[in-house]
Each structure stands twice: as C-alpha cells, then as structure tokens.
C-alpha cells in the first residue's frame, strides 16, 4: 500500500526524500560535528527548521481541505493555537515549584491573580498522555461543533471563510482576557522541561526537530492515503459539483465534516510541536492575520498538491526570516507582492512549475493528480 501511495506522486517523493535527509543530517550536523566545521548546524538553525516543519504541517492541514474539498478556512490558526495552548499547559505544569513565586502547584500568573487552587480545566495536564490526547481532542471537538453547524446550514465559500475568521478572532479576544485563566496577554512561557528533559538543551531541541519531521512525514502519508482513496475523489467531486455529488448518493456534509475535523487535529498537532520549540504560546497565535498568512503559504506552494503546501511553508517562511533580519520594514510589502505575482502568474503555485516541467520532459498528456 505504501508503494502505491508513493509511486503515483513524484513531487511528493522528492519532498519526502529531502525531509528524510534533513531529519538524518541535522542531528549529526548539530550534535556530532564540531562547531567550527563548515557543515555544523547551529542550535538556532535546528529550532528554526523545526518551526518550519510545524508550519509545513499546518499548511498541509489547510491544503487538504482547501485544495481538495474547496473548504477555505481562514481560521486554522484557531486549531494550531489550541494545540499549542494544550502543550503549553502541560509545560507550565512541569515547571512545578520552580516559578518566580515558588508555589508548588499554581503557575506564576495564577499566584499573581490570587487564585486559591487550580481551575478545573487545568486538571490532568500534568500527565503527558492526557496532554497528548487533548492536543488532538480539543481542536477536533471545536472543529466538530463548528463544522457541524456551518456545514449543516450549508455555509460555504466566502461565507465560510468569513466565519472562520470570526472564530479565531473570538478566540484571540477570549485568550487575551486574564480571567480566562491562560495567562492573558503574556500567554504561557518560561517553560523548564518536557518529560523531564531540559527544554533548552541541544539534545532536546534536536529530538523535537526529529519528532516534528517524523510527524510531518506521517501526516503527509495519511493525507495521501485519504486523497488517493475514493474518499478523496468524493472530495474533488464535492469541490467541483456539490449538488451532483449529493444526487450521486453522498452525504456531502459528513464528508466535509470529517475532513475538517481531521485537518483541525493535524493543525493542533502542529501547534503542540511548535510551542516547546519556540518556548512560548500567547494569544498572538490566534490573530486573524496569522491564519491568512498560513493560507498564503499554501497558495504560493500550490493549492491542491500536498507537497506544494510543504514547499510553500518552507519558502515563504524562509523568505520571511531573511527579510525580517535584513530588511524588516519591507517584509509585508514583499509578502503582498509575492501574493499578487503568484495569483497572476502561478495560479498553481510553485508545485505548478514542477508539474509543467514534468509534463514537458515526460510528454505525458495527463499525470495530473487532481
């Protein structure tokens, strides 16, 4: 089955090979090669690439629903952020009595706000397995309820995009409030360790990087499995002729709903992997702009091609890193220009270039996986 998934997908195969090479090389380059070697990978770079892997996973989640089922979510940051907060809660509980106030149980911000005891929704997060479960359940459940209401009333297209924006915006406002009990404005930070390992140690960083990479590859294969099954063809059918799909006997809403929930869970996992690497989660992750930016990665990489989403996340974020260190004030203009150029000249994104090249070289009339 694995071979069937891989062989039909040349671009994906290349990306997977590159990712695997990265996962193998980065730990060696960081931990084994001496710091003065030209092939050495600094810990800063490890963390940076680890972040990109998480962004790529988020982009994959967005492309799955947007590229294949035509569901444009401008609010996937909601699921990413929730996954991040869940992980943040676990990491906060791990601090224990090492906080500034030294309280044995309560995090600093709760002591500061005169909490007597841990709120009920913070219970259980000292257990890693519980946190892992919640990383998927919390975003999944929100997506289930939200999607159920939206799809059942047949909200789609631009209207759906707008209400997803409203969703992240509402979450952002809620998490900004101190009374919510998630640290308000400052969010959760000052993490010490994860599963007993020092979170700032090189080994931990490298391990988190490798886990992110493996998760991305696993998620990619799962998405491939979905879109190459009949489920995937139903999605394309829904995207192109929703009414026809209904009259062919498919319950369109449940297809959309389960895909949306799956995608939200992937986004949640991405957020959960992101937080220990950057060391902080705050309501900024719920900013509507952040969600729109994630959709831009997909557009640039190539909507409707899963490996394109990964390329998009890496290239846009790579450019962003470069711009914000060299010309910080130009970045937003560059992003805007990039978006306009891609929309005008590369409607199928970077992956579209590869596809065209591939068709030229192999002279195959079809080969389009959509």
């Amino acid at each position: 089955m694995l071979t069937r998934l891989l062989l039909s997908d040349r671009g994906g195969l290349i990306i997977l090979a590159l990712l695997t090479a990265l996962i193998i090389y980065v730990p060696i380059g960081n931990l084994l090669l001496p710091a003065d070697s030209p092939l050495h990978v600094s810990t800063f770079t490890v963390t940076l690439l680890g972040k990109f892997l998480c962004f790529a996973l988020l982009a994959l989640a967005i492309d799955l629903i947007w590229g294949y089922a035509g569901i444009l979510s401008l609010g996937h940051g909601a699921f990413f952020g929730l996954g991040g907060y869940v992980m943040g809660m676990y990491l906060t509980r791990q601090i224990g009595d090492r906080g500034v106030y030294g309280h044995p149980e309560l995090p600093d911000f709760m002591v500061f706000m005169n909490y007597d005891s841990l709120p009920w929704y913070w219970q259980g997060f000292d257990q890693f397995w519980f946190a892992l479960l919640m990383v998927m359940l919390v975003p999944g459940l929100l997506a289930l309820v939200f999607g159920w209401m939206a799809f059942r009333s047949r909200v789609s297209g631009v209207y759906f995009a707008i209400i997803t924006q409203a969703l992240v915006f509402a979450l952002m406002l809620a998490f900004f409030r101190n009374e919510m009990g998630f640290g308000g404005n400052n969010g959760l930070t000052d993490f010490k360790d994860i599963l007993g390992f020092d979170i700032t140690a090189r080994q931990t960083r490298v391990t988190l990087f490798v886990i992110s990479g493996v998760c991305l590859i696993g998620a990619y294969l799962m998405c491939r499995f979905i879109i190459t099954s009949r489920f995937g063809r139903v999605l394309v059918a829904i995207r192109d002729a929703e009414s026809r799909t209904r009259f062919a006997g498919y319950q369109v809403e449940s297809y959309k709903l389960w895909l949306f929930v799956f995608s939200a869970m992937l986004a949640g996992i991405a957020g959960a992997l992101y937080v220990p690497q950057v060391g902080i989660i705050n309501p900024g992750e719920f900013s509507p702009i952040a969600s729109i930016e994630a959709v831009l990665w997909v557009a640039v990489g190539g909507r409707g091609s899963l490996f394109g989403a990964i390329i998009g996340a890496f290239s846009v974020n790579g450019a962003k890193t470069w711009f914000t260190t060299v010309y910080p004030e130009v970045w937003l203009f560059a992003l805007g220009t990039l978006f306009v150029l891609v929309t005008l000249f590369l409607p199928r994104g970077i992956a579209g270039i590869f596809r065209t090249l591939g068709q030229w070289t192999s002279r195959k009339p079809k080969g389009d996986e959509q």
Binding site: F231, V236, S243, R244
Partner: protein, 280 residues
C-alpha cells in the same frame, strides 16, 4: 409544532396516520401494490411569491417512459427539484411507492433510495476521469468510512465496462471528463445514472446540444431502459419526444395542462395555444 401536525393528521379520514407508518426503509422493495411508483399530489413551490409549481398532480407507473413537455419556465426542472429534495414543496405530497414520503428525506437519501437524476446543464465531475466519474456513481456503501477503504470488485468493474460501452465512451475511459464534448458529457451523466441503478430516472433535457445522430442513439438508449426502470424525460425537442413518447404530460405555469398520448396532446387546442403554437 409537529405535535399539532400529528394531532391534525389524526382527524383526517383519507389516509393512514403518519406516526403509525414504519420509517422509510430502502432495504425493502418499494411498495407498488397500489399503483404508481411516483405520486405527486397538489404540490406547490413558490419563489418569493412566484408560484413555480401550482398544485401539481402527477402519477407515474413503474416501468413507464413518461415525457414532460412545456414552455420555458413551466416548472419542469422545479418539479424534479421537488422530487429529489433539492427544493422543498410548500404544500402537497410527494410519495415514492406507497409508503416513502420523499419530503421527509434529504437528497442523498433519495438518491440512495433509487431515484436518480440528470441535470439540465450536463454536470459531471470535470477534474476526474470518465472511469472515476462512473466509479463514484456506482451503487455501493457511500458512507465516509466505506469510501476510505473502497476497492472495486470484479463484477463492479465489469458493470462499469458494460455501461462505458453502452454510452459510447468505451475508448475514452481515462480521459478527463472536463475535456469531453457537450454530447459526450450528456451521455456520461446518463451513464452515471445507470451506475446508481435507480428505479426511477429523472432526465432533464438529455439531447440538448446533441447532433441528430447522437439524439437518435439517446432515444434508443432511453427506450431500452424503460420497463426495467421508470424513466421520466423532460425535453424541448418535439421530434425527439415524438420518437420516444408513449405518454406525455404538458406542464404550463406550474400545473398539468394536458396528459395523454402524443397525438392526443398535440391536437389539444389549449396545448397548441401555449406551447406547440410557438414551435411551428
């Protein structure tokens, strides 16, 4: 609200109480013991006050090939929408066989239950191949979970090849459906209907945009389907209707103007006035 409705239904003498009926069960054969397979009574549909269907009555027997004609805007497509659950009737009843109240079901349930439909504007899944279009339509478990692990059985594959031959696309099976000609798309959509293996086929303007030869083959195909399936055809092309019709229903302003054989209908002065007159 529904309590009120149920109580009201109790007062009626002309029908069995709704709540005593078993829920629709498509595993059971449709109950045809008392006549028609499709039965519409006083069905009305309004759009913003405009009555697209106005107390429409129609009964179609199992195995029949029925043609529906009528001028533009007569409500033919709206009637199909009402039967297939796309639009809800404001009043009236729509029954499939004796017992299945179509107004209680949603589109996918009606489709799974055995009513297939071809759209007026040919609608196929353009990004997919011809073969995949048929595969998606194939009668099978169409739940999300089943779709994830779906594999074609050899007998299903044979059936698909058979339908491909029947609709004249045997050599085009891997072609992307969006690149087919208009007439081929029409056929592909009819093929998709056949894959669903429905009891009733609702076919909206099947020969629009077809050449004379294609039209003739479509006529053959549809007549060959009648008997095993119930076929309801909406068409403007009078020559085509004449070539296939046994029984014709004329719609006008949302209700039935006349019904009978083609000869009888076309000699009805009211029909000539509203419809046929324009043609000649």
């Amino acid at each position: 609200m529904s309590l009120l409705k149920d109580t009201r239904a109790l007062m009626r003498r002309d029908q069995v109480f709704d709540f005593m009926l078993p829920p629709p069960d498509f595993e059971q054969p449709v109950d045809l013991s008392h006549g028609p397979i499709l039965y519409l009574e006083d069905v009305s549909v309004s759009f913003d006050g405009f009555r697209a269907l106005n107390r429409l009555n129609l009964a179609v027997d199992a195995g029949e090939l029925r043609c529906i004609i009528g001028p533009n805007g007569a409500g033919k497509t709206t009637m199909m929408d009402a039967i297939t659950g796309k639009t809800r009737a404001d009043e009236g009843q729509i029954y499939f066989g004796q017992r299945i109240d179509l107004q209680k079901l949603s589109e996918y349930q009606i489709a799974r239950g055995g009513i297939g439909r071809k759209f007026q504007k040919p609608t196929v899944f353009e990004a997919l191949g011809v073969f995949e279009n048929l595969e998606l339509s194939l009668a099978s478990d169409k739940s999300t979970w089943a779709s994830l692990g779906f594999r074609l059985r050899p007998d299903q594959r044979d059936r698909m090849d058979e339908v491909l031959q029947l609709i004249g696309l045997g050599t085009q099976r891997d072609r992307q459906a969006g690149t087919l000609s208009h007439g081929q798309k029409q056929w592909l959509e009819i093929g998709m209907l056949l894959m669903q293996n429905p009891m009733v086929l609702l076919v909206d303007e099947p020969v629009a945009g077809m050449t004379a030869e294609e039209t003739e083959r479509t006529a053959e195909l549809l007549t060959s389907l009648a008997g095993r399936h119930t076929v309801i055809v909406v068409e403007h092309d009078m020559a085509f209707v004449r070539s296939i019709a046994r029984r014709v229903t004329v719609l006008h302003q949302g209700s039935v103007l006349a019904e009978g054989s083609m000869d009888r209908v076309s000699s009805d002065p009211r029909v000539i006035e509203v419809y046929l007159g324009e043609e000649t």
